[in-house]
Each structure stands twice: as structure tokens, then as C-alpha cells.
């Protein structure tokens, strides 16, 4: 599709393996070489701040004025990765936090995310995969500074210690700042053995810490992709075929070119680009464009035809993702058999910053300024289009105005590179909100069929679950046995002690582009699993909390978050008059989250209020509890927006929604109280940007069931569901 095969295959095969144990080995290899690689990068990055800056490794740079610059090799899209990664490195470096600056790293192999085999940010990997390498990078730099000071004083390094940006020699009371020994430290060999701090000695990690990027985000200074300006830059928009898979048949640009300020009209892979001396004129030019489209094979698709396709596929056995016991035989012996079908729609990402990219293509090099989650793929995309070697493509990562997986794609990079190549000038391509909503890689629609058996006491004995939906991974290469594990993730990991389990998958391609959307398969499968287990509790006449507790007796981390959320929310005590509670617990991205959601329903108005969300989570060791508070609240808003409003519908092969009037977002008045509780843990940290999304929809719908006795099996929640 856009050439991201290798990293996606790596991402997939990696996900199967679980964790990469090689990060420690990796840093030993690449720290030394890196300094040269990085010196070269610093020269070409033309950074004003690089004067007098000594590169100690790919991440840590110390200047004579004691400023420590930490290179951030992940994309900052709101999740506070810039601050979190800096905290990890700075703690081991023992520098003065007030002297820390950050810079986004260039595209380079040294910054590859081990989970993807590419430089990229997603799948909640940033904190988890950077934890050990960044601690080592900070510790190695500290050791080099310390040895440089010891050499200068002619004392044993073991007699010195590092503290708040300085080296101290206790026996003589001498002290020197990092900046004053940075030049000498740059000549010290990179240590091969890098002991790390005892976590009890962490000074920064684990403390609520303000974000380093906040000051530039309160006065308009933070540079997002859409803010990039280059000398002689032109501005472009692209007219795209409204039907997925369609293409340009012919176009007449005469009216567009007649508009003052329109400079070029050019056909590119994604459609017809109008290039002008500002964005608005380019949009006016696009309105004046007359394009005939060849709508291609999807022109008749509707949401209803897609739904029927899913239902038809789900009527046949699929590829088995999990089988425990003998579910087919045991279902016949069940005292009761419960069946249900659940459905979710396509969803757009709707990042607040519409897609955009700026490119400057010349015969010798290509510069790309992009709000990208996928630097390696941005580089490869530009190299493929220009024919330049990837080493001649320079990717400059800006701040991202939201990512949520949308910016793991590189379609907007291709737009800018193609237009700049055609126009012979630097060009910024900006998507309108309509372009963004109608040309996304959507969270897939999906269809889940359940059959369960209960014994005479109402306990589940059989759990059968079939999923039918399009595949994301199928975009990047042929699927083995038409099976995509990401389509069934969470559903294949039923944590409940049920002796007979069958989970299978039917591929159902719908002709609609699908992609990674905050929490990916877990976003819909958490809803399926946690709604149906709630149904079984009701059918077996059991409290939904007590049923889960009993069935999670062998799943201690699930159990702990469930019990904590229930206790903090007062489960088992009557809620305030008119209020109802629902709960859900989901493990995804190596973490565990339980939500208890408290709502009230006004059945006459067919409306509901979400009053309170109590969240308990286990994410391993905590880096920044303030960021976790923010990420959980963010996930609650993202999950509620999807559950209450989110639906992309298809008619005549095109998306019917276009902007925030018909693709609605949660607004401030709808924001519930959210209480966040962290389970203390000494395990390595996991990412927290996604895992609180999946339990939102089921906890909400389980609360609606408590209020109305009506089970929501199709999202979003509709007014008639609340009658």
C-alpha cells in the first residue's frame, strides 16, 4: 500500500514473540559507533544549539554551559513521551533537571524501535522499549563525565560521585560541573559495563513531573507539522477520489488556474494537487477543479452490504486462534446456552491537527518535515518517490497534533514529496478536515458472534467466539491461513477460568482502508469480551463483579486492578439515587486496567450522563504519575467519544461523515470525574497511552444494562437504546 512491509512484518513477528531480550546487548554494540554517526547527523541537522555541544552518545549531549540535551527518538503526540524519556535518561545521568533540553532525533538506524525494526512510535512501546537503553545511555554518559573529572584531578574515579550536574571528589572537597568536563568526557571510551542505579535511588523517575513541552504549548511556539515554513515554500491541497480505490479519469484545471495565486495543478498518485501561494487559495483552486473519477470496484459498497458480508463470513468456521478443552462437545451438555452478536463500526482517528507534510525535493537531497509516528517509513516513502538513497532523505520530526496510530501511515508524506518534486519548490500539503475524515485508515468495523454454555449453577463452562472483520496486517503482505492475530487480540486471551474455549477468525475484506487506531484490535475486542462476560453474569444470576472475581482467581494482575477499582468505586454499596454502575477489566499492551463507570439515564430524553469513572491500573513501574493521570483521562475521553458518538458509515463506496458536526467529539461539559489509582509495582514499565481505552465502552454499556436492563450489542450507543 505505501511500502511499510518490512517494519510491519517485524512488528507482527515481534508481537508474537512478546518481548525482546536483546536491548542490553544492543546498547553495548552501538553506543561507541553511534557517536560518529551522531556527530555526522549534528552537522547536517544544522542545529543552532549544537555549538560547543559534546555528543556522549546518540541521546546525551552536554554543552559547556552545563545544558544537557537529550535526543528524543520517539514522536511526541500528547502522550508526554518527550518528558518521560528525558526523565529516564536524566535520572541515571544525575544531571540537573532544570538544565535539561530536548530535541527530536533525526531518522537513523540507531534509533530503531526494537519492536518494529524501524524508527517509530506506537503500540505503547516507547517507555517499555526505551527504559533500559535510555537508562544505560544516561549512566554511560555519567561514567564518562566522572572519569574525565577524575583524570583532570588525578584521582581515582571510585573516589568521585555525580550529583545534580556536577562531579564531586569528597576527600578533597573539589567539585566541577558537567559542562566544564564535557569536552574531556567526549574523549573517554564508552564504558562496556554499565551498572544501573538501584531503583530506590531514583530521584526523578516516579515523581509527578511537569512536562518539558508545556511552556511552548501555551504561547503558540511549539512547531507542529502544519506550522513548518521554508523559504519560497508553496502550499497545496489534493483532490482525492471520494470512493476508496478509485482514481482520476480526467480533469480540467482551467478554472482553478484562473484563480490569482494558483501556481500549479498536477496529478499525483493520490489525486490532483492544486499548488498556490497560500493554503486558502489552494483550497479555492480545488473547489474550482473539475475532476472526473473512475470510481473503481468499491463504488456500490454501503455499511449494510459490509455488515451482511461480515454476518455471512461469521456463519462459517474460521481459523482457530485458541482452543481449550472440547467446546463443541461440551456446549451440548450445558444446562443453558447463551448466544449473542456484537458489532462495532469503522472509526476515524480525527487528530486535531489534520494530516500534513512539508517536503523540499532537489536533485541531491530531499528534506521532509512531518508530524510522523514512523520516521523510517517516511524516509523510505520519500526515497522511493524521489529515487534518492534513503541516506539523502532527511526526516525532521515536528510535534504531532495527536497521533492515535493515524500518523504511523505515510500517505501525507507521499503527497508532499510528489508535489514538491512536481513543483520544483518546497511545498506544504495540508489536508482539510473533510479530507482527514474521508480518507483515513479506519479502526475497522467488526462483527463478533458468541455462544456460551452455563452449568446448572449459572457458571460458564463453554465460551465460543468468532470474529469476522478486515485485516490490518493483510495490507502489508499475504496472511498465512487468512489469519490476522491483531483482529482477535484480547478476545483470544480470555483471562477467565472457563474450561472450554474456542476463538476463531474469518477474514472479511470490505474495501475500506483500515489501520492502527488507539489500542487497535483491543479497542473493539475489549468491548466484545467484557460485554459478553457481563451478559453471562446476568444470565447466571450473579453479580458481575463477583463472577469476574471468581473466574479471575488464576489471573492475579487482572484481579488486583478489578478489586481495587471496585473498592474505590464502592461496588457493593448502593450508588446515589438514580445512578448505576458498570465495570470492565482488560489487559492490553502488557498492562492491566479496570474501570467502574457510574451513569444516570434519562429515559424520557433518551440521554445519559457519565458522572464518574474509577480506574485502577497496573503498568509496572511508574515513570511519571502526572502523565498517567493525563493519559487515563485522555483514554476515557477517547473511549467515551467512540462509544457515544463514533460511527463512520459508507454509502456508494464513500464515507458519509465529513467534519465535527457529523463526526462528533466529546466536549468539556461531558467530561466525567475520573479517579485514577495505580497499583505499585517494581516490574519494568509498560506504556500507558492505550490500555485504558478498551475497558471504557464495555464498562459504560454494562452500566447502561444496570440502568435499563437493555444490553448494548452494537456501538455507538443510540438514543433508542436508552428509551
Amino acid at each position: 500500500m505505501n511500502g511499510c512491509e518490512s517494519q510491519h512484518i517485524n512488528r507482527r513477528s515481534f508481537l508474537k514473540r512478546g518481548t525482546l531480550g536483546a536491548t542490553g546487548l544492543l546498547i553495548g554494540f552501538y553506543l561507541p559507533e553511534l557517536r560518529q554517526a551522531h556527530a555526522a547527523d549534528s552537522v547536517r541537522s544544522n542545529s543552532a544549539a549544537s555549538g560547543g555541544r559534546v555528543t556522549l552518545n546518540a541521546w546525551i549531549h552536554v554543552s559547556a554551559d552545563d545544558t544537557v540535551t537529550i535526543f528524543i527518538d520517539k514522536s511526541e503526540m500528547g502522550q508526554s513521551v518527550l518528558t518521560g524519556l528525558a526523565m529516564i535518561a536524566a535520572d541515571e545521568l544525575e544531571c540537573d533537571w532544570q538544565k535539561v533540553r530536548t530535541e527530536f532525533a533525526p531518522a537513523d538506524k540507531v534509533y530503531f524501535n526494537p519492536q518494529f525494526g524501524a524508527q517509530g512510535t506506537g503500540a505503547s512501546t516507547a517507555t517499555r522499549t526505551s527504559w533500559e537503553p535510555l537508562r544505560k545511555a544516561g549512566a554511560a554518559a555519567r561514567m564518562m563525565l566522572l572519569r574525565a573529572a577524575a583524570q583532570k584531578w588525578g584521582v581515582e574515579p571510585s573516589e568521585c560521585r555525580a550529583e545534580k550536574g556536577a562531579i564531586l571528589h569528597a576527600p578533597t572537597g573539589r567539585r566541577t560541573s558537567y559542562g566544564s568536563v564535557s569536552q574531556a568526557a567526549g574523549k573517554i571510551p564508552v564504558p562496556q559495563e554499565i551498572p544501573l542505579k538501584d531503583p530506590r535511588d531514583f530521584r526523578i523517575i516516579g515523581k509527578p513531573t511537569r512536562r518539558l513541552d508545556t511552556p511552548d504549548k501555551v504561547n503558540g511556539r511549539a512547531e507542529f507539522g502544519i506550522d513548518v515554513r521554508r523559504e519560497n515554500m508553496l502550499y497545496a491541497v489534493v483532490a482525492r477520489c471520494p470512493v476508496f480505490g478509485g482514481k482520476v479519469a480526467s480533469f480540467d484545471a482551467s478554472k482553478a488556474k484562473a484563480i490569482p495565486g494558483v501556481k500549479h495543478v498536477a496529478q499525483i498518485s493520490s489525486g490532483v494537487a492544486v499548488v498556490a501561494d497560500n493554503s486558502w487559495t489552494a483550497m479555492e483552486g480545488r473547489r474550482a477543479l473539475d475532476v472526473k473519477w473512475d470510481e473503481g470496484p468499491n463504488a456500490a459498497a454501503t455499511s449494510e452490504t459490509i455488515r451482511k458480508l461480515f454476518a455471512e463470513r461469521a456463519s462459517r468456521p474460521g481459523h482457530i486462534a485458541r482452543k481449550d478443552g472440547d467446546p463443541e462437545a461440551q456446549i451440548e451438555h450445558a444446562a443453558r446456552k447463551i448466544e449473542a452478536v456484537y458489532e462495532v463500526p469503522f472509526l476515524a482517528h480525527a487528530t486535531m491537527e489534520p494530516q500534513n507534510c512539508t517536503a523540499d525535493v532537489t536533485a541531491q537531497r530531499c528534506d521532509v518535515w512531518a508530524p510522523t509516528q514512523n520516521q523510517t517509513n517516511a524516509q523510505k516513502t520519500a526515497a522511493d518517490i524521489t529515487g534518492l538513497d534513503p541516506s539523502k532523505v532527511f526526516v525532521h520530526t515536528t510535534f504531532l497534533g495527536g497521533g492515535f496510530g493515524r500518523r504511523f501511515e505515510s500517505d501525507y508524506v507521499a503527497d508532499a514529496v510528489e508535489v514538491s518534486k512536481a513543483a520544483g519548490k518546497p511545498v506544504k500539503v495540508t489536508w482539510s478536515r473533510e479530507d482527514d475524515i474521508q480518507h483515513d485508515f479506519y479502526r475497522t468495523a467488526s462483527y463478533a458472534k458468541f455462544t456460551a454454555g452455563l452449568d446448572a449453577d449459572g457458571w460458564p463452562t463453554v465460551w465460543m467466539n468468532r470474529i469476522a472483520c478486515p485485516s490490518i496486517m493483510g495490507r502489508f503482505g499475504p496472511l498465512k491461513d487468512n489469519f490476522d492475530a491483531r483482529s482477535v487480540e484480547i478476545c483470544d486471551a480470555v483471562p477467565y477460568a472457563i474450561p472450554n474455549i474456542l476463538v476463531d477468525y474469518q477474514l472479511a475484506e470490505a474495501g475500506i482502508p483500515v489501520g492502527f487506531w488507539r489500542s487497535v484490535g483491543a479497542s473493539q475486542n475489549g468491548f466484545f469480551l467484557e460485554s459478553f462476560i457481563d451478559e453471562l453474569a446476568a444470565e447466571g444470576n450473579k453479580d458481575p463483579y463477583e463472577l469476574r472475581r471468581h473466574l479471575l482467581r488464576n489471573a492475579p494482575r487482572h484481579l488486583r486492578v478489578l478489586e481495587t477499582a471496585a473498592e474505590k468505586a464502592g461496588w457493593g454499596t448502593p450508588p446515589p439515587a438514580g445512578r448505576f454502575r458498570g465495570l470492565a477489566v482488560v489487559s492490553s499492551y502488557f498492562g492491566y486496567v479496570a474501570h467502574v463507570i457510574e451513569i444516570s439515564v434519562d429515559r424520557s430524553k433518551r440521554s445519559l450522563n457519565v458522572h464518574r469513572v474509577v480506574c485502577a491500573l497496573d503498568c509496572g513501574r511508574v515513570v511519571n504519575p502526572s502523565s498517567i493521570d493525563a493519559q487515563v483521562k485522555s483514554s476515557v475521553v477517547y473511549g467515551l467519544t467512540a462509544a457515544l458518538h463514533g460511527e463512520i458509515t459508507i454509502d456508494r463506496g464513500r464515507v458519509q461523515q465529513s467534519n465535527f458536526h457529523d463526526y462528533q467529539m466529546l466536549r468539556i461539559a461531558d467530561m466525567p470525574v475520573v479517579d485514577v489509582y495505580i497499583i505499585p509495582s517494581e516490574l519494568a514499565p509498560t506504556g500507558t497511552g492505550e490500555f485504558a481505552v478498551p475497558p471504557v465502552a464495555p464498562a459504560l454499556c454494562n452500566a447502561i444494562f444496570a440502568a435499563t436492563r437493555r444490553r448494548i450489542r452494537r456501538l455507538p450507543v443510540r438514543p433508542e437504546d436508552l428509551a
Partner: protein
């Protein structure tokens, strides 16, 4: 005919198509990129500026309509992040991705100029037109209340010390042993 208005306290002469939205004049013609494009239909509030003190969506405001008026953008709110709303935003660490925050701050500043001590309901009402996809709404409410105290410290007892650690919202650790 050039259009004349006051932009962040300085006279501004405009020689562009009169129907060009103020947003694109600011961003592309002047290079003042703090004001953001989000929807182009006054649905999201990312482009909010002040026109004669009112919070206005610049994406649907033709540049010709601001002739003779006072326009203030995020760049002109203060020289040094000292506006009470900016100070409160920093103390409570409001932004996540940050893209909508110029608009949020401009809406909040316009609210406080008219209503020194808004209730939560009044805050919700005034901020309803500003979408935050990251979900910073909770901190926005807290920060507007904090900004009200910073702006009018005599009216209510101000919290001890500006930028105090106690202001930073954070998750709680559950007690060891947790659960029941």
C-alpha cells in the same frame, strides 16, 4: 483597497483577497502559526482569536470584516507567558499534544475577562466550542479556576505559592496490598 486593523497592539495593513479567512492570513501570509486550523467550519475552536475582546473563530472570519478592529492572537496574549491563563496552564500542566491549546487559552481568557469567577457550568458553557481530542478537559476546568484566582487574588484566597507542586494533578498510588 488595503484593509487596516490592529493586530496584537500594532497597526496592520492587509493586501489580500478580502474574503480570505483571517486564519489563513495570520498563518500563511504573516507566518503567525500559533493560531491553528482544525475544521474550517467554526466547529472545533482551534483557530480562536479575540476580536474587540470577543472569542471568535478566525477560520470563518473574512479578513475584510476585521477592518478597524482590535485583533489579539495567542502570540499577543502576553510577551512572556505571564497572562494568568498561561500561568495557570503551566502550573496545572494542561496540554497534551497541545494543538488545540491556543484556542482553548484564547477562549478561557475571553471568558475570564467578562466573568472573573466562573462556575464549572459557566466554564463548560464558554468552552463548549473548543474540542480537545486528547481529553484535557478536566485540567482545563481546574486551570480556569486557578487563573481566576491568579487574576483576582484579592477576591478569593489564593493558593499558597505559584507553581506549587501541590497544583499538579497526578494519579494516586493504591495502598500496598490493595483490593479488599
Amino acid at each position: 483597497m488595503p484593509i487596516e486593523f490592529t493586530l496584537n497592539g500594532k497597526p496592520q495593513r492587509v493586501n489580500v483577497a478580502p474574503n480570505m479567512p483571517l486564519l489563513w492570513f495570520l498563518r500563511d501570509t504573516l507566518g503567525m502559526t500559533g493560531t491553528k486550523f482544525g475544521c474550517g467550519m467554526a466547529l472545533c475552536g482551534a483557530c480562536t482569536v479575540h476580536i474587540n475582546g470577543e472569542a471568535v473563530r478566525s477560520c470563518v472570519t473574512p479578513v475584510s470584516s476585521v477592518a478597524g478592529k482590535q485583533v489579539v492572537t495567542i502570540e499577543g496574549l502576553s510577551e512572556d507567558r505571564s497572562h494568568p491563563v498561561q500561568r495557570a496552564w503551566i502550573e496545572l500542566d494542561v496540554p497534551q499534544c497541545g494543538y488545540c491549546q491556543s484556542g482553548q487559552i484564547m477562549s478561557a481568557a475571553a471568558l475570564l475577562a467578562k466573568n472573573p469567577h466562573p462556575s464549572d457550568a459557566e466554564i463548560d458553557d464558554a468552552m463548549r466550542g473548543n474540542i480537545c481530542r486528547c481529553g484535557t478537559y478536566h485540567r482545563i476546568r481546574l486551570a480556569i479556576q486557578r487563573a481566576a484566582r491568579l487574576k483576582y487574588p484579592q477576591a478569593k484566597s489564593a493558593k499558597a505559592r505559584a507553581g506549587g507542586a501541590e497544583l499538579l494533578p497526578t494519579a494516586q498510588f493504591a495502598a500496598q496490598g490493595g483490593g479488599k
